[in-house]
């Protein structure tokens, strides 16, 4: 049975924990708003890039001269996984879910006898993966998110690395893993194929308006494609970074919200226990005094 003093200090410590978690929650909430705005602002560019590329890809088709980034290397022996996580923990299942998705994929690929290479963006991902796949990690990046949010140049840095590896024939297929932001309480771990370009969305609506018109290309389809494809890699990576950062703050906000609520519950429980044992002690003392008096 804990003494009154123990209970008092326990309550005090839970209270200060609650203060910390509620402060973290508020910080995460304000960062979330900024990150969400940034992620939404970046969407138009990525969307238009996607439709433009889709149109070009259908125009060039699978010609002999199609760029490698579009057509692929013709093999799929070596896979590169780019894993986007946070630099910090205390954000619920955010890091764990993305690491788990990447791990399963890596194990599946290894099972098929393929080589796996990994690029980790964010400290937590490389921490979690280095024990199992230490030899497979080819590069890691940390401190992506600066004071002013995420800069396009950090995405370019990662993209340059990916493209350089591809040019050297270091891998055949590149997949990125990131948490897609749905809402503050929901993030979906997403895997997306980056290289070769997967022309997903020249969808019906686009077909009706765009493709009926015949486009002129200046200088030529191939030249534009050669220029656009590497750029698209950068844009996709940038988009993934933004989504991932918005998700991180969302996940941290809800995790800290839960923690704050749990701390409140715990304080209530401990206070009841404290009051009860104080009452019991007083009763005990009274009984002792009374029985002492009666014995005289």
């Amino acid at each position: 049975m804990a003494s009154l003093k123990d209970l008092r200090s326990r309550i005090a410590s839970v209270k200060s924990t609650r203060k910390i978690t509620s402060a973290m929650k508020m910080v995460a909430a304000s960062k979330l708003r900024r990150a969400q705005d940034a992620a939404e602002a970046a969407r138009p560019y990525a969307e238009r890039m996607g439709t433009m590329l889709g149109r070009l890809a259908t125009a060039v088709g699978s010609n002999e001269g199609a760029p490698k980034l579009l057509a692929g290397t013709g093999k799929d022996d070596v896979h590169l996984l780019v894993v986007f996580t946070a630099d910090r923990g205390l954000c619920g299942g955010f890091n764990a879910s993305i690491v788990k998705a990447a791990r399963l994929k890596a194990i599946a690929l290894k099972g098929e006898g393929k080589t796996v290479k990994i690029i980790c963006v964010g400290r937590k991902g490389s921490d979690a993966l280095k024990r199992e796949f230490g030899d497979n990690i080819v590069a890691r990046y940390t401190g992506i998110e600066g004071k002013k949010g995420i800069d396009f140049s950090s995405a370019t840095e990662v993209a340059d690395k990916v493209l350089a590896l591809y040019d050297e024939g270091e891998f055949d297929v590149c997949t990125i893993f990131y948490n897609k932001f749905v809402s503050a309480i929901s993030q979906v771990a997403t895997a997306q194929q980056l290289i070769p370009f997967a022309g997903e969305d020249v969808d019906g609506e686009e077909e009706a308006t765009g493709s009926s018109a015949v486009y002129d290309y200046e200088p030529s389809e191939e030249a534009i494609l050669a220029d656009l494809l590497p750029r698209n890699v950068g844009v996709q990576i940038f988009g993934a970074m933004l989504e991932s950062s918005a998700s991180e703050h969302g996940a941290r906000m809800s995790a800290m919200d839960n923690a704050t609520r749990n701390a409140g519950d715990m304080i209530d429980r401990l206070s009841i226990q404290y009051n009860r044992s104080r009452q019991a002690q007083i009763t005990n003392e009274l009984i002792e005094i009374i029985s002492g008096a009666e014995a005289l």
Partner: protein, 134 residues
């Protein structure tokens, strides 16, 4: 009422402009081209240079872009720019510093990849200075 075409200027971090304009002149890789309403559809890459937006027969706005792609169709002109700054906000000394940095990078570049990057930076800086002098 004059006809207008919608100009959309998008950079990776934001939708910078989406508004009807009378005419816009875009610095394409194969030379400048003007876009009027009902322009035939085309896609072109952009070299570093200045986009001129016309209103009432005169240039109303000049925006510097560091390269990108433009997609034109009869209703709109979409420009995906890597970097876009109004010419009025460009600073001569910053452009000069950029030029010098690019020249230094070109000199010290060893791999073909670095060299290509430095040359691109040099083109951008030169175009900025040219935009300022005109």
């Amino acid at each position: 009422m004059t006809d207008t075409t919608v100009l959309e200027l998008v950079s990776p971090s934001a939708l910078l402009k989406s508004e009807p304009v009378e005419m816009v002149v875009v610095p394409g890789t194969d030379g400048n081209f003007g876009v009027l309403p009902k322009h035939s559809p085309m896609i072109s890459t952009i070299r570093p240079g200045v986009i001129d937006i016309y209103a009432g027969g005169k240039v109303s706005e000049r925006i510097f872009v560091a390269g990108g792609v433009a997609e034109v169709n009869p209703e709109r002109c979409t420009i995906l720019a890597e970097e876009a700054v109004p010419v009025a906000d460009l600073k001569a000394d910053e452009a000069q510093a950029r030029l010098e940095a690019a020249e230094a990078a070109l000199k010290s570049a060893e791999t073909a990849h670095d060299k290509a990057n430095a040359e691109r930076a040099l083109d951008i800086a030169r175009a900025q200075i040219q935009a300022l002098t005109n």
